[in-house]
């Protein structure tokens, strides 16, 4: 029989429909892979019993020809999505043991469509990080290795999602992207990841980090699989006032569109100093691939790019300090004993939050405090408008932008840990898109000289995920990326 953990979502759906294997067999194969690969630390909570029960229900629907869009597809859920009755931690000690009494809108849509839940995936604490090293439950290990053999980071914050898909532990996974948390880990692990337009997916029931930036999205091994996942995940939700009423198209219909005459912009400000030659080379290769398929390459300028990171590191911590004020030790989560109420708050929060989260709360509180609010926060909101206008201007001339996803391939665990700014630079190519609320996707395009995957990013106009997917599919077709990581949940037959 084919290796069930190596299927795509699309081919698994076909196999299930044709009764080549059962939903239970498919889910069981992934449970075995998940158990074999515990060393990667992808999952905070494993839920095999839930997955098998859902698989049984899916199979029953296949048997009566009532199968739903994603029936029987085993996925992982980033542990930032509240799941009714299953612990949801945001990878923080302060939420350890928290069992939601409700289901997030996006996860609920995926279960309704027939997905089976293998478990809750590890991440950076409250999604704050670019290496998955800030999780209270330990770092995730990238299944890819370079010749040094040392453990590499899977990217972050959705590092559990990216590593699990690359290692063939699940067919798809959810992620959230605030400044690059879907696209950068996808690039570091050689898989696809898409962040749709802000407002496409409901944020209801997702543990909040920075509400004006947070957006859910999908990870999978192919562009088509990401489109299939998005079809289910997107859509208006009355419970999220920023969720859009924009009609959701069938994203899979956009995949095989012609690239002839499409204008692809290359932002000159993304040629940053010190970019590794491999990244530079792959970027040029990407342009050639699109040209070969009939697209036109156009130089564009996004003049405020260099201010995106400092803008982000005002706005995101400000919103974080405000959102995380709710963790008070009273209503849910950790409580430390204190002499009085203030003592309880301070001890609970000092014990419950990790170092990076505390640092961001501190920065956020500082930039929002009396006397500094205008100089920092309002200033950042103004620059945010200029960054957004840069994109609007560029999209007057082009249909999509092509950039590298990250300035390097995966690095060793512990590297960059001592210098927050150096860590933040990982997101230099992804943060501007987030500030402008635009859709962006990372697609694996090749290996660097160390044998590690690199991704290219496609950025589109608001609500135009279809062009993003179409261009990403063009790159996928040309790159023909078939390399696999050294660690797999189920070893392939020799």
């Amino acid at each position: 029989m084919t290796n069930l953990t190596d299927l795509t979502i699309a081919s698994a759906l076909t196999g299930l429909k044709n009764k080549e294997f059962s939903a239970t067999e498919l889910t069981q194969a992934h449970i075995t892979a998940m158990e074999n690969a515990r060393g990667l630390n992808c999952f905070i909570t494993e839920t095999p019993e839930i997955a098998l029960k859902q698989a049984e229900e899916s199979q029953a629907r296949y048997n009566t020809d009532e199968a739903r869009a994603l029936d029987g597809i085993p996925i992982g859920m980033k542990d930032l999505f509240c799941t009714d009755g299953t612990q949801t931690t945001a990878a923080s000690h302060i939420l350890e043991g928290f069992v939601p009494q409700y289901e997030s809108t996006v996860s609920g849509k995926l279960w309704d469509a027939g997905c089976t839940m293998l478990g809750k995936l590890n991440l950076d604490e409250f999604a704050m990080g670019s290496a998955n090293t800030t999780s209270h439950f330990g770092n995730v290990i990238n299944p890819w290795k370079d010749s040094s053999g040392s453990d590499l980071v899977p990217g972050g914050s959705s590092g559990g999602s990216s590593a699990a898909i690359a290692a063939r532990l699940c067919l798809g996974a959810t992620g959230t992207d605030t400044g690059g948390s879907i696209r950068q880990p996808a690039a570091f692990t050689g898989i696809c990841g898409i962040k749709p337009t802000y407002g496409r997916c409901s944020r209801w029931g997702i543990v909040a980090f920075a509400s004006s930036l947070d957006q859910a999205g999908a990870f999978a091994r192919t562009v088509e699989d990401c489109a299939i996942m998005l079809n289910t995940m997107c859509g208006h939700d009355a419970k999220d006032s920023t969720s859009s009423k924009q009609e959701v198209p069938d994203f899979t219909a956009a995949l095989e569109g012609d690239l002839k005459g499409k204008k692809i912009g290359i932002p000159k400000e993304y040629r940053v100093d010190g970019m590794p030659e491999d990244v530079e080379k792959l970027w040029s290769q990407g342009m050639e691939w699109l040209k070969d398929q009939g697209a036109e390459i156009v130089d564009v300028s996004l003049p405020h790019t260099k201010y995106a990171l400092p803008t982000y590191y005002i706005i995101a911590p400000a919103e974080c300090s405000s959102n995380l004020a709710r963790y008070d030790g009273i209503r849910y989560g950790l409580r430390e004993t204190g002499d009085d109420l203030r003592d309880l708050y301070e001890l609970t929060r000092a014990t419950g939050f990790g170092e990076e989260v505390q640092r961001r709360i501190m920065i956020g509180t500082y930039v929002l405090s009396a006397g500094f609010y205008d100089a920092y926060y309002i200033k950042a909101q103004k620059v945010r408008r200029l960054i957004t206008q840069d994109f609007d201007d560029a999209f007057e001339q082009v249909d999509a932008l092509l950039t590298p996803t990250a300035p390097s391939s995966a690095f060793a665990i512990g590297e960059n840990d001592d210098d927050p700014i150096k860590m933040y630079l990982n997101d230099v190519f992804t943060v501007p898109t987030s500030l402008a609320g635009l859709p962006g996707m990372s697609v694996p395009a090749g290996l660097d000289s160390k044998g590690l995957p690199l991704g290219l990013q496609v950025i589109g106009k608001a609500w135009d995920e279809e062009t993003v997917l179409n261009v990403a599919r063009g790159i996928e077709r040309a790159a023909n990326f078939t390399a696999k990581p050294q660690i797999l949940g189920i070893k392939e037959a020799a």
Binding site: F98, V99, S241, R359, I363, Y366, G437
Partner: protein, 95 residues
């Protein structure tokens, strides 16, 4: 502009984070490093630019002012570290 030890202490108090002297000493240069980084924005000309609070490309919806949920006290209390008689329990706040 750089922060002082007293600034860090004040901000930690506002953020309700208990910090030891050692932690504040360690945090001070890191915060100053980050503040120095974000201060680059001062060089951007933002005269006559409106602040952008949210990129949601739709107007906020209105709905009828009516009760749409409730009757779920036990669910609300399910994760409380301490509850009594259907209420959250906290340390004594009034003598």
């Amino acid at each position: 502009m750089s922060l002082t030890r007293d600034d860090v202490k004040k901000v930690a108090g506002l953020a309700r984070l208990r910090m030891t002297d050692n932690q504040m000493d360690e945090l001070l240069p890191k915060m100053n490093n980050i503040v120095g980084f974000i201060e680059q924005l001062a060089e951007v000309d933002t005269d006559n630019v409106e602040p952008l609070a949210n990129v949601a490309r739709s107007t906020l919806p209105l709905r009828t002012d009516e009760i749409t949920d409730g009757e779920c006290r036990d669910k609300v209390l399910a994760n409380a570290p301490e509850s009594e008689e259907g209420f959250f329990a906290v340390p004594k706040v009034v003598e």
